[in-house]
């Protein structure tokens, strides 16, 4: 029953995001649609034709009432019609997004996973050695890295390892000599090009994982059952196993929530390394004011994060017997 309720809430939230986006673009000062329409008129385009052009670009007629525009907008979204790009003349938004999403998904998921395990390792290590110099130094370092924006780590890696030390290639996700497909040179090239962006993700995120693992593990260490493990004479390995199992659980929700953060970071990392992913698409459409693409990316990203939260919530209640209703 809780599943249905939570799912309903998620749908409600997606609808709210849709609505907020619509009104933000239509009603804020500097309404891009009216701007485009007026500038066409100024260029001497007859109003009928200007309106038709706007309709092609934005799927609305500027003289329709806001309510009609809104209903049409929702109707189109429900049919997967996110409008057409302005910059990539006439290309529908959805295929554009779907074509760039795989690169982002690949880099983000590898980045999250590696940083998660590094953070887990360091966090448990700090918790086991808490209140020593190791704890002090590592906790401060993790705090500084926690919340560092990806463009800082990305830029540093880019500059040092492609400019100062030209060890890694610069730009795009594969070299221009390979043919995309399931062949070894292509995969190798992708892997080679992925090292720096993934490193940038990892350095931007491991601090957060380290800190949350540490606090979870410290809390668990104080629990009676861990104390009892020692008394029962369990081997250090078994104790560690117990500790990690119980510390990972609270991190689970954070793991999913961080997806949203990571997609934000993708904008910077893909812009910095010129990777043709979702983040690059967002950055490019932003700087060129390609509203339909921006709006489409934003809606899909938000919906994906909201649904991921929903799934995490459901999974979490399965994993942790205490929340099961």
């Amino acid at each position: 029953m809780r599943v249905v309720r939570r799912f309903g809430v998620s749908l409600l939230m997606i609808w709210m995001v849709m609505t907020i986006t619509f009104f933000m673009i239509r009603l804020m000062p500097g309404n891009p649609i009216m701007d485009a329409y007026l500038s066409l008129l100024q260029q001497g385009v007859p109003s009928q034709e200007a309106m038709a052009q706007i309709h092609v670009l934005y799927d609305v007629y500027p003289n329709q009432s806001v309510l009609t525009q809104y209903v049409l907008y929702v109707w189109h979204l429900l049919h997967g019609n996110f409008g057409t790009s302005i910059v990539y003349a006439g290309r529908p938004v959805l295929p554009l997004i779907l074509a760039s999403a795989p690169w982002t998904l690949m880099l983000v998921s590898i980045g999250i996973t590696i940083s998660f395990f590094i953070g887990l390792f360091l966090g448990v290590l700090i918790a086991l050695n808490r209140n020593t110099w190791f704890d002090n130094v590592m906790s401060q370092i993790a705090s500084i890295f926690h919340g560092i924006p990806n463009y800082v780590t990305g830029f540093i890696f880019l500059y040092f390892f492609t400019v100062m030390l030209p060890w890694f290639p610069f730009g795009n996700i594969y070299g221009n000599t390979v043919t995309p497909g399931l062949n070894f040179p292509f995969i190798a090239s992708v892997a080679y090009h992925s090292v720096l962006p993934i490193a940038a993700y990892v350095f931007g995120a491991f601090g957060t994982w380290t800190l949350s693992t540490k606090s979870a593990a410290v809390a668990v260490l104080g629990d009676d059952f861990i104390q009892a493990d020692k008394i029962r004479g369990l081997t250090p390995g078994q104790q560690l196993d117990h500790l990690i199992h119980n510390s990972v659980l609270p991190l689970f929700t954070g793991f999913v929530l961080s997806l949203g953060m990571m997609f934000g970071g993708a904008v910077f990392i893909e812009e910095t390394f010129t990777i043709p992913g979702l983040g690059y698409l967002i950055a490019q459409s932003t700087s060129q004011r390609d509203y339909p693409v921006m709006q489409g990316c934003f809606l899909l990203l938000s919906s994906a994060v909201i649904l991921a939260n929903f799934l995490a919530d459901m999974l979490y209640s399965r994993i942790d017997p205490r929340i099961r209703v």
Partner: protein, 300 residues
């Protein structure tokens, strides 16, 4: 009598404040870093008058550090140090302003939702959930592009509006747990009004949390602001760390020469150092607002 008592307590408070921050070397370092940034923000234009310091000098493009330009020069031959120092004011102003906005809105929404409960709570929390769930940076990009914001006030508003959700939810859950405590019930029994209970009884218990959030929000807002400029979204202000990064990335050809190292690294280090300074004093802040953590000297 009352005057004497309150000055006495104020004196002991300021002396314990000094003790808290000077007791650990790391906090002293943190304070020094923050003082340095404040100094740059306040006196920057005095040390490097923008009219002379930011003038391009084609003869000095991408020079290494020297006595005249301790951090070298950029692609126009302008001193990097001057750019960093002059950028501090704008960056700090937006950071502090946005953090202030976030704290005020977050605390207000959290307190109101936690205290009133019922339908008001439900509505406020659904709105908060949406703001938490939406990936913050893409939202910021969208808003910034639409608003085409260049004035600091508008950037502050934008950063604040997209970020207050997390704090609001955390404050609400703290209010929910604090209001079950006996001392809140006792305050109700003493006939204190809801406003007094919220602001004078419950809020002081959350001050250390709020203050920490304020500081952390400053760095977060600075990151976001610099990031927006880095992507070239908001219109340019001439001297800003984000603009430096943007130009390094896309205008200045800095990524094709090793000579630009100080130009590229300086704005990044400026951000990292400020972050470090704030992290270093966070522990002290907790002690200031949480009397239980304070080591009281000769009192008992």
């Amino acid at each position: 009598m009352i005057l004497a008592a309150s000055t006495a307590s104020r004196q002991s408070r300021s002396s314990s404040l000094a003790r808290i921050f000077l007791s650990r070397p790391i906090r002293v370092i943190g304070l020094a870093i923050i003082a340095l940034y404040l100094f740059m923000a306040i006196f920057g234009p005095v040390i490097f008058p923008p009219s002379t310091a930011l003038v391009a000098n084609p003869a000095k493009v991408y020079q290494g550090p020297s006595w005249a330009d301790p951090l070298g020069t950029d692609f126009q031959g302008v001193s990097v140090l001057a750019e960093i120092v002059l950028g501090a004011r704008g960056v700090l102003m937006v950071g502090v302003g946005a953090a202030f906005f976030i704290v005020v809105v977050g605390v207000a929404v959290g307190l109101i939702a936690g205290f009133t409960g019922g339908i008001v709570d439900a509505i406020l929390m659904r709105i908060t959930d949406v703001f938490i769930a939406i990936p913050q940076f893409p939202l910021l990009l969208l808003v910034a592009t639409i608003l085409n914001a260049s004035s600091p006030g508008l950037i502050i508003l934008m950063l604040g509006l997209t970020t207050w959700g997390g704090l609001a939810r955390a404050i609400r859950s703290q209010v929910l747990s604090l209001r079950e405590r006996d001392f809140v019930e006792a305050a109700r029994g003493l006939g204190l009004g809801t406003g007094t209970i919220a602001l004078r009884v419950i809020l002081p218990n959350m001050l250390s949390y709020v203050a920490m959030n304020f500081l952390v929000s400053i760095t977060g807002a600075i990151y976001a602001e610099v990031g927006l400029l880095f992507l070239g979204v908001t219109p340019f202000t001439p001297d800003n760390w984000g603009v430096m990064l943007h130009e390094a990335d896309s205008v200045a050809g800095a990524l094709y020469t090793r000579k630009s190292v100080f130009y590229v690294i300086s704005p990044l280090m400026a951000i990292l150092l400020l972050q470090a300074g704030i992290i270093f004093i966070l522990g002290g802040l907790d002690e200031v607002f949480n009397p239980r953590l304070r080591k009281t000297g000769a009192t008992q």
